[in-house]
Symmetry: C2
Subunit: 202 residues, 2 copies
Amino acid sequence: MGILERKLRHKESIRIGILEAAWQLVITDGWQSLSIRKIADAIEYSIPVIYNHFENKEAILLEFTKEGFEKLAETLNEVKKQYNEPAQQLVAMGDAYWDFAFENREYYQLMFGLGIPACDTVKRVPELKEMTCLMISTIKEALAMGKNPEADYFLKYHTYWSILHGLVSIQMIECPGNEQPDITKKMIVGDAMAGFVKSLVD
Amino acid sequence: MGILERKLRHKESIRIGILEAAWQLVITDGWQSLSIRKIADAIEYSIPVIYNHFENKEAILLEFTKEGFEKLAETLNEVKKQYNEPAQQLVAMGDAYWDFAFENREYYQLMFGLGIPACDTVKRVPELKEMTCLMISTIKEALAMGKNPEADYFLKYHTYWSILHGLVSIQMIECPGNEQPDITKKMIVGDAMAGFVKSLVD
DNA sequence: TTATTTTTGTTAACACTGTTAATTAAAATA
DNA sequence: TATTTTAATTAACAGTGTTAACAAAAATAA
């Protein structure tokens, strides 16, 4: 009896409808303002129907997170295959990673829980400038004493800050509790810092 | 007439009360679940009083963001003064940056809009493993061909991913629009990748 | 074909959220 | 003491996620 099959097909079509509607809302209004009611409105079903297909709102977002990681892995895999040298592969994969993030901002923000502070938060926080100045001045000094003193200090500052923020962010994602991360994790910071400084002074 | 002074003093005391109550709530329940009503309840005033001191909820959080950047800048400044060599300073500042982040998680998450995905999101996304494997295998291969083949590949993978995620995150904070970031920004990726790979193969 | 059971979908509510207009209580001034 | 200004409150609006209770539709059994 194909009745059950038809039912399952119908059920699945609603599920897909939910995800498609949700994604449409995400890319037009951002995932911050996604709501169950908006989805229900878009698929022309009542609200509780959505809860027959997803445990809660988070489960819907989790679906996109998975999709995002799938797409990213696929992209990186494609890029890797285009090179033979592992070193080249790593550089190209880094490039592709960057492109993926900015060609799929909503995906990336969901995947890593980036809350994107309001457009001009950075400008409304002059206190940020203190840190920036401190980093830049130190990098300038380090560059001046190194082998390529006319390197782009602003670029290097950006790299320095990004490495630190990246290390912290990834660690916070992997260890969301309130405990301090493993002491061994701090070795990663030391390693990264050593590498950066080394490449700075050449 | 000291009446006006007393009034201003009183007004200021309420403002401080709001911030203290809010911060207490933030460190106990996390900034995600901070609400105006909870603050009003804590300071034993009605809700609209809060809006006489802050334009909206975001303004309260912005206050903490500023505080956070102030504290961080201060910390880094202190650390910098303890060393003479700029290279040493950069390493020590990186160390201090990490410590600050994990000794002041709520501050850091506010400052950079980290949404901290639910505790076990990482484990609920097996798709993440694909990316991890891809990166690790490539790094292993690169290490094998370099001058220190027995380096810690897991550490290096962590560094690689963190650098990329940091570059992307910082860029997204600085350019929150929907446009692609400046092409010149991609130079930063190239530079960082080159530096990393160089330090990888020695 | 009709009656019964199961599935599916809806209405309405609960407990929250940020924000604000209208109103009352309190304090300062005339 | 009466009036004006300031401070604080109540009550509401427009949202949010989530769910219990109920009605409509579809599938099964008689």
